[in-house]
Structures are given as C-alpha cells and as structure tokens.
Amino acid sequence: MTISKDLFLAILSMDAYNRGYGAGITDNGNDDPDGLGVSTDTQDYFIGNAKIIDSKGDAEAQAAGFYAIAYEIEDGAGITGLSTGDTVISYRGTGAMAQPSQAG
C-alpha cells in the first residue's frame, strides 16, 4: 500500500508536536511521550518509513519556543512523491508551550 506525499508530510508535521520538550500528547510511559511505543526524538527511531536523524530542542530552542525534527525517508517506495534518502524537516513554534523550564 502506498500513501501520498501530502498525507505523509501532514503526519510528520503533526509528529513534531508530539516529540521533544513540551510534547502535546503524553502518557505514563518512560520516554514515550507520543504513546506510540517509541522514544522521544532519539535518533534512529522510525515513524512509518521515516527515520529520525536529527532534532533541535535544547535550551536555546526552548527559549525561543522552537522545536524541529528531521527525518530521512528509508523506503520511498511506499510514499508517492518521496524517494529513499529524502530529508524531511518538521518544526513548530509554540507560544504558551515555550516555557524554557518546561518538562514532563
């Protein structure tokens, strides 16, 4: 089964809100803020065919209310319009959630 590029990019754009500091969806799990059974923004974890390769959520980013995460497409055959090796960057700016001391 293949999905469209637009749909997959939409999923990844939402994924940025549920990883790293101030993740919107949290559960009881250790290192599992999105409830999907994977870690936060640790490298080499996957969402679908996208592997997390980088992120920006340190104190500097938090002070600006910014968070970004980068993925690399591991298998473009499943996504129409994306190719293996493509890099996708998803980012958010969250005013109220931009507390520099936020956690949990």
Binding site: D41, A59, Q99, S101, A103, G104
Partner: protein, 239 residues
Amino acid sequence: MSTLTGRPRVISGHHSTDRPKSLSLVLAALVATSLALAGCGSQVGEWHQKLTVTVETPDGIKTGSSVMAIKKHANDSQFRLPDARAAWTSVRAEAVVVEVAPGRYLFALVSNAGSIAQNSFPIDRDALPYEQEVAAVQGMTGVHRVPRDAYPRLVTFANVNAPQSVGRVDPDNLAASFGPGYRLVSITLEITDEPITEGRMEEVLGWLKDLEGGYLHGGFTSRGAPLGLTGLDFARHKQ
C-alpha cells in the same frame, strides 16, 4: 481630523459617523479585552515534590533525593479557539543523583518531572477536571512508589568528567551498568514543603554550567549527542 456633526462623513476615504466612532471604540475595547484574555495563561497550581531513588549496592543501601518545584498552567479562555487552548507545566528541578560507588553515580533525570506526580499518585485523572486533578496532587500526603512505567530516565557516566560517556541504565538491570550486587530498590515520590534542591548537579558534573542547557556533545542539534540529552535533562534552574 473629523468633526462630529451627527451626519455621515467621508474622511480620507473612511466612512465616519458619530455612532460608528463610538461603536468602533467599544469594539476596539472588546477586541483588546478579548485578546488580552485570550493571551493570558493562568497558573492552576504548584507544589514541591521530593523524588527519592534507593539502590542496593555491595556496600549497603544508597539513596539520593531531589526536591523539585512544579507549576501547572492553563490557557483555556473561551475567547481562544479550541485548538489554541493549552495546559502546560514549568519545572525547576535537578536530577536525583545517587553515588552508588566511589566516583560512580546514578542519575534520575528531570525529563518527566512535570508529569510524574500525576502518574504516581492514586488519582483518577479521567474523572477529574484539570484543576481538580492538580488540586488532588497538591493535597496528596505520604510517600508513594513511582510505578515502573512512570520511572524517570536513568543514566550514568563511565567518566563523570566526560559528558559524552553517558549511558542509559536499565532500571531492571543495574548490574549491567555498575556490576554485580547493584539493584534498584525503589523510586518514590512525595509532596513536601522542603526547599528545592539546588547546586548538587553542578557539584557532581563540573561541566554542566558551561553547557548552558545545550546538547552533551556541544553541538547545535542533537545529531551525535549521546542519548540526545541536553543539560536541561540534569538541571532546570529557571521557571
């Protein structure tokens, strides 16, 4: 400049009348008030919590504690669009550190400090509005075990002076990190009036202050940073 005559006038291309001008002022005030209300987040509650880690070692029981300050905020103004409403947590905390052997330390990070109370205390979160949930946490008494799935992240350093030597510690297998005879006995949490713990992290991790909340490898992003950790996972001094 407009004059008030009670008749509509066109001034600089704008249609102006007495009533519309008054109405405009009222509307402007309402909009300003709405925006002000919409932009304000209110503090729902705050507390101090004491997290304690107890470890069995070949030399006996070792414990470490850290008192953390938690503040819960919400912005659920009816003037905000539903998607723009939010609740968030601010934390002032240091990791718990246990010196399990001379020069060997176990750290329980602060990454989930803002939610650990709600996940550890016997509170029916689904049945309570957010404000009551926070109030229930504030009123909690006694020492409670943190459930396994709410444990903070545990790490150690092969060399405490080398941030990149950090490694994950399996709470179910401390021996893998520290050797035979080491076992995690418990992680507990209690609400307390004690002052927050400050300065202990910088004592143990001499490099932490210079890191200024950045990634442990000193890079701009997390790529190559061990475990993706930043200095904020060990200490958050602002709230």
